[in-house]
Subunit: 217 residues, 2 copies
DNA sequence: ATTTTTATTTAGCTTTGCCTAAAAATAATT
DNA sequence: AATTATTTTTAGGCAAAGCTAAATAAAAAT
C-alpha cells in the first residue's frame, strides 16, 4: 500500500499536528525525522498527490482524513507491538521503541487483529499512551503534567511525555512506574523543583522531570 | 547491516544451493526471485564485493561461510515467526509464509532470542522444516518422500516439500497433517498414483502429491 | 568444427528517496 | 517601508535496485 518512507512521514506529521495547530512546517518535519527540509518538500508533494495530506507551498502541511487514518493505524500497530514486547518477551519499556519502529510496518490485517486479541485488547501501551482501535478511535485520558500539581496534591502516574530511553531509565532507577501513587510534599518557588513521596520514599524532582510525567489526580 | 534486498538474495541462493550442487546460475536465482537475470548479476557482484558470496562470471554463485550464516539466521527468524503465527495467533499453515517473509527482516538480537524462548525453543516450523539455532545449526531429519514408499509400508508425515498455499489447503481438505500415520495400500504402476490409508480413511494420491510429502518410516 | 541456441553480462535508463547549493518567498528588524 | 534574516522551494545529482535491449560467452546441435 504505502512505502516505508511514506508511512514514517505520515506518523511524524500526525504527531507534530497535535502540538502546532496550524499547518506543520517542512522544517519541523525535517527535524523530527532527522532529514533535510528539501527532502521533506519532495515527500510532502507526493503525499499531497496521493490525497494523504493537504499542502500549499510555504504554508505547511496537514493530514487529510485518509492520511490521519493511515497514521493512526501505524500508531496502533506500533503500540500493540510494544505491549507484546513488554508483556510477552520481557522487554523493558525503554527497549521497545526501536523494535516497534520496525514492526509497525508489517502489512497484515490478520496479524494485527490476532495480536490485539492475543494481548487481550490492551487500551494503553507501556508508556501509558492510548492504542487506537481498528477504526482509529482511542481514549483521551484526562491527565495533567506532574509539574502542574501543588503542595499537598495526590495523583497517580499514568504516562510519560518523553519516552526516551534515558528518561525511562531514570524513572526505573527511582522506582517511578505507571500506576504509582504520588504525593506532592513541597514545591520550591525559585527553581520549580518538587519534593514528592512515591513508594513510601521521598524524592526530589527537577522541573524537567516533573514536566514529563503525566498524572491523573 | 544488510539491505532487505541483499537478505532476500542470500536466502534464495541458500535454498537453490541445496539442490544444485555446482554454482547457482543467475537465471535460477532470477526465476526463484521473480526478477530479471541482469538484476541478479548486479546484486551478485555486490554480494561478492562484500564477501558474502563467491562469484565468477558465467560460472554461477556460491555463498561464502559468512553468506551462509547470514542466510541461516534469516531462515531461523522466518521459521520462528511461522511458529509464533500458528501457535499463538491462530494462523493456519498456509497463511504464514507471506507474513513471515516480512517479519524475518526485523533486526533485533533480543527479539529473536526472546521469541525463541517464548515459543519454548521449537525445533521445527509448521511445515516440518528445521529451525536453525543461533549458531546456524539444525537437525537434519532422515526423511524420505512418500513417493519412495512401497505397498505395505507404513510411515509418519513429517514435512512438506511444496509449501504453497494451494498444496497446503489440499492437504487440509484431505486431513493430511504433520504427525499423521500413513499406510500404503496400493501403488499403480502406470501412473504412479497411490492408494493410502490415513486417518482411518482411504485416499488416492497423485504422484505430484506423493512427491511433495516427507515421510519418516 | 561450425553454426545455432541459450545463458549471461554490459550499457544505459527509470524510480524512490535522499542530498547540496542556489533561488525565491516569508518573517523579522531596523 | 526597506533591509536583513530565516524558511522553504527548486534545480541538479547520487545511490540502490530494478528494467530493456544489445553484446558476448558457453552449451548444444548439426
Amino acid at each position: 500500500m504505502f512505502s516505508l518512507s511514506e508511512e514514517n512521514y505520515l506518523k511524524a506529521i500526525y504527531h507534530l499536528e497535535k502540538q502546532a495547530d496550524s499547518g506543520v512546517s517542512t522544517n519541523a518535519i525535517a527535524e523530527q525525522m532527522d532529514t533535510k527540509a528539501s527532502s521533506v518538500t519532495d515527500m510532502v508533494k507526493k503525499l499531497s498527490d496521493k490525497d494523504l495530506a493537504i499542502y500549499r507551498k510555504y504554508q505547511g502541511v496537514q493530514l487529510s482524513e485518509a492520511g490521519k487514518q493511515t497514521a493512526l493505524q501505524i500508531i496502533r500497530k506500533h503500540r500493540l507491538w510494544e505491549v507484546f514486547l513488554v508483556d510477552k518477551l520481557n522487554f523493558s519499556w525503554d527497549e521497545v521503541h526501536e523494535v516497534a519502529e520496525q514492526l509497525e510496518h508489517i502489512k497484515s490485517e490478520k496479524l494485527i487483529t490476532e495480536l490485539d486479541k492475543f494481548l487481550d485488547f490492551p487500551k494503553r501501551d507501556p508508556h501509558g499512551d492510548p492504542i487506537p482501535d481498528a477504526k482509529g478511535n482511542f481514549q483521551v485520558a484526562n491527565k495533567t503534567l506532574l509539574s502542574n500539581l501543588e503542595i499537598g496534591d495526590f495523583g497517580k502516574v499514568v504516562g510519560v511525555k518523553d519516552s526516551s530511553s534515558e528518561f525511562l531509565k531514570y524513572l526505573d532507577k527511582n522506582n517511578i512506574a505507571l500506576g504509582r501513587e504520588i504525593h506532592i510534599l513541597d514545591k520550591e518557588k525559585f527553581d520549580e523543583s518538587m519534593l514528592v513521596e512515591i513508594n513510601e520514599k521521598q524524592l526530589r524532582i527537577s522541573p524537567i522531570v516533573s514536566s514529563n510525567i503525566y498524572i491523573k489526580s
